[in-house]
């Protein structure tokens, strides 16, 4: 084969490869974008959740807040619990399947994962109590600090799966 022919062939195959890569990249971007948009998990506080109205139904949400004092109700014969999760302004009623973790109690930061359902409550498949690696006595009677709440929602240990 003479050098010019080799050169032309190489250029043709380069163009072909370039075209293939561009097509693949576009296809990949479209697939990835739709994959991401279908699988978003929102981190919300009760105020965010109530402000979202209809959007909160069916979406996967991690709701973070404090367990309202006196709101915990255990169903006898099953390990499920019901309680309210509140932030400084609002509270949301939560029904959680499954036994709560050891340190679950009133006035503790929790993150529940689930969605709003038509009964007007939050159905949670997973309940997590916020781990705090530093020793700090639980804040009593203080309005919840927004920063602290965000930190709680994002500490997702145990929320895997």
């Amino acid at each position: 084969m003479n050098p010019t022919a080799t050169f032309l062939m190489r250029r043709r195959s380069r163009l072909f490869i370039l075209g293939a890569v561009v097509v693949a990249a576009i296809a990949f971007t479209v697939i990835a974008a739709s994959g991401i948009s279908q699988n978003l998990v929102y981190y919300w506080t009760p105020t965010d959740l109530l402000a979202a109205h209809g959007k909160a139904y069916g979406a996967t949400i991690r709701l973070g807040g404090m367990v309202t004092p006196g709101s915990i109700r255990r169903t006898s014969g099953s390990s499920a619990v019901e309680f309210d999760v509140q932030d400084a302004a609002h509270s949301v009623h939560v029904r959680s399947r499954g036994a709560p973790p050891q340190m679950f109690r009133e006035e503790i930061g929790v993150v529940v994962e689930g969605t709003m359902v038509s009964g007007g409550y939050f159905q949670s498949d997973r309940l997590m109590v916020s781990h705090n690696n530093q020793y700090r006595p639980p804040a009593r009677g203080h309005p919840i600090d927004k920063k602290e709440m965000e930190r709680l929602i994002r500490s997702t240990e145990g929320l895997k799966d």
Binding site: Q38, P101, Y135, P138, R151
Partner: protein
């Protein structure tokens, strides 16, 4: 005293690495052998200073010198000695000091092994290594100084309890650092090749080997991380696409791609620019991973609290990105193409396909990991990308990769007739059928699981055939055998992942003392609940007698560990492992007053195979290096000539 000594050593290492980098780059420009000698001396000196600083910190930790800020932060008189020593990497500043120490060792060993060879490339390579060293010295001297002098206190809080809670958490970080930091060496070599505008045959061997060693460590590190999550976190899984996990996987994917494309460069003299790009990308992903795990942008188990270190690493990452792209743009066309791609249906074609799949996987995981950060930065909304995204995107590519492990080695290099291709590609379908049937009998019904098993069977037959074939035309080199060991490991891992993730069974039960619960063929009996006091923690332990089909198998003791300085206890599961699968008990809560416990029972088939097969992968990787080490000590130029002679002989 310790604080001052440590501080001085760090400042000296900053000075030495900066000066060394300048000397090395100057020697690269002027091609001065004298300058190279000095650059090497600076490299050794940097290593000595870093090791010294780390030794000072270990001494301060062991002697409980609470006037050193890092010791005051993580030290405690009540922790066992091994925990105290491992505290070096339990928190931000110490782990960066450890990084510096590992970097020093890598740079010194790499400089020593290459001291009489590759004169063309070495000045620039040492320059890049020492420039990275200067950055980490700067971090340790300023934003993340572990040696701040603080008013001494009597006792400290001890390291993060999660570290104390399991031995694997002590072993996992060193492996991760050995993997992460080691990528600096091939990065330096690849940069040197670009600066010189040349990727000659002689440099391929050190490039491949310096990539292989950290690859092995990173492989172990990823497995240890998954194993730790499985043994400690109590949700019964080993991989959750957590940003921290992804951070360790991303450079592994590109490094794996580069290890394959280097072979194509060796054999066919093509893909030079591509290979160099992959190596640069690997190091960038290492620094991105460091940023993600060390800056607190993702607040998860491994991440540390917000600190000035985040912006500093981000600036370094940006500088590296600009440097890499600039270098590639200016020099990539100089890496001359000598060979040609003759046929897509060939071993090199399959390696290219493998590379593309690995890069697609890298992008998929990268996009899913970084997307929430970008959204939050732009729109201030907090969210994460859920697990199904990763699963649906990654599974098909991973299954195809298993298939390529079969097809690639079955095909010969270069152009081949269709008849030969058919002869190579058709017989392993027997292996695929056998595995598929076995999988079906085992109970697998998920289509992706069955597909992975079938591809695994195909790959297994090819791999075994290649390793044992008495008809092989040439004596298999140890490197080839090593590669097939790694492939065998990957096939086992992929099948075990496919089965364990789709055939897991979970049930939650509540048991009172003396009572039993039945889960499938298994029964658990709560024998009792006891309180145990240990030096650094107290534990509430639930004792379960575990029986299968009425035969007592073992006693499992899932527990709640309460650490002195922590508000909440940490639940720790207990596992009964067999070849066929694991029986896993994780306590949700224990009520000592009522003598009852709520536990999650998780039965996962084949999960133990993952750990075993990853060890096989790592050993395969080490085996590829062992003869290399021998050659390296016998004198590098001769070894390079030998490697070339061997690779050209086929």
């Amino acid at each position: 005293m310790n604080a001052t000594a440590g501080r001085l050593l760090i400042l000296a290492s900053l000075l030495v690495s900066t000066a060394g980098a300048l000397v090395a780059f100057a020697a690269g420009r002027s091609r001065s052998a004298y300058g190279l000698k000095w650059a090497q001396r600076f490299a050794y000196l940097f290593a000595a200073l870093m090791v010294g600083a780390t030794a000072v910190m270990e001494y301060a930790l062991v002697t409980h010198d609470f006037s050193v800020s890092y010791v005051a932060q993580v030290g405690s008189r009540s922790t066992p000695l091994w925990v105290t020593m491992a505290s070096l990497w339990s928190s931000l500043e110490g782990s960066l000091l450890f990084w510096g120490c590992v970097l020093g060792l890598y740079v010194a060993v790499a400089t020593w092994l290459t001291r009489n060879a590759y004169e063309e490339y070495m000045p620039d390579a040492i320059g890049v290594w020492l420039a990275c060293a200067a950055f980490f010295s700067f971090l340790l001297a300023g934003p993340a100084n572990p040696f701040v002098l603080v008013p001494a206190q009597l006792d400290g809080p001890g390291p993060n309890p999660l570290l104390q809670n399991h031995l694997l958490m002590v072993v996992h970080p060193p492996f991760l650092y050995l993997g992460y930091v080691g990528m600096t060496i091939p990065f330096g070599l690849a940069c040197a090749a670009l600066i010189k505008g040349k990727l000659g045959p002689s440099i391929l061997k050190p490039l491949r080997e310096s990539l292989m060693l950290p690859w092995v460590f990173l492989t172990f590190a990823i497995m240890l991380g998954g194993w730790w999550a499985y043994e400690v976190l109590g949700w019964g899984g080993y991989w959750a696409w957590d940003p921290v996990e992804n951070a360790s996987l991303l450079p592994w994917l590109t490094a794996t791609a580069a290890l394959h494309s280097i072979i194509v460069v060796e054999r066919r003299r093509v893909l030079k620019g591509w290979t160099v790009t992959l190596i640069l990308a690997t190091f960038l992903l290492v620094i991105l991973g460091t940023f993600m795990t060390r800056s607190g942008v993702f607040n998860s188990v491994h991440s540390f609290t917000q600190s000035p270190i985040g912006p500093t690493i981000l600036a370094f990452l940006a500088a590296l990105l600009v440097f890499s792209i600039g270098l590639l743009a200016m020099r990539i066309d100089r890496l001359e193409v000598e060979g040609n791609f003759e046929s897509a249906v060939s071993r090199e074609g399959m390696m290219l396909f493998n590379n593309l799949l690995l890069v697609v996987l890298t992008f998929t995981v990268l996009v899913g990991t970084v997307f929430p950060l970008v959204v939050e930065a732009i729109r201030g909304r907090q969210m994460s990308v859920g697990r199904p995204y990763f699963d649906t995107m990654v599974v098909p590519a991973a299954a195809l990769l298993v298939f390529l492990i079969g097809v690639g080695p079955a095909l010969p290099w270069g152009k081949t007739s269709w008849k030969q291709i058919r002869r190579a590609v058709l017989p392993p379908l027997i292996g695929a059928m056998v595995f598929l049937m076995a999988g079906f009998l085992f109970g697998a019904r998920n289509p992706w699981t069955l597909l992975t098993i079938a591809f695994g069977g195909y790959a297994a037959q090819v791999t075994l055939w290649q390793m044992r074939s008495p008809f092989a035309q040439v004596q298999r080199s140890p490197r080839r055998i090593a590669a097939y060991l790694v492939h065998a490991g990957v096939v086992i891992v992929m099948i075990a992942i496919a089965i364990s993730s789709t055939m897991r069974y979970t049930q939650e039960v509540h048991v009172v003392k003396g009572g039993t619960a039945t889960v499938g063929a298994w029964t658990i009996t709560l024998a009792g609940i006891e309180q145990r006091d240990e030096p650094n923690r107290s534990a509430t332990v639930a004792r379960f007698v575990v029986a299968k089909n009425g035969v007592t198998k073992t006693i499992l003791e899932p527990r709640m560990n309460q650490y002195e300085r922590m508000r909440e206890p940490i639940g720790t599961p207990d596992v009964y492992s067999t070849i066929g699968g694991d029986f896993y008990l994780s306590v949700m809560n224990i009520d000592p007053a009522e003598q009852s416990a709520a536990v999650n029972v998780i039965i996962t088939p084949l999960v133990g195979w993952i750990w075993g097969a990853v060890i096989l992968m790592g050993l395969g990787g080490l085996m590829a290096l062992v003869p290399a080490f021998r050659f390296a000590f016998a004198g590098a130029p001769r070894a390079a000539a030998l490697t070339l002679a061997r690779s050209d002989g086929v």
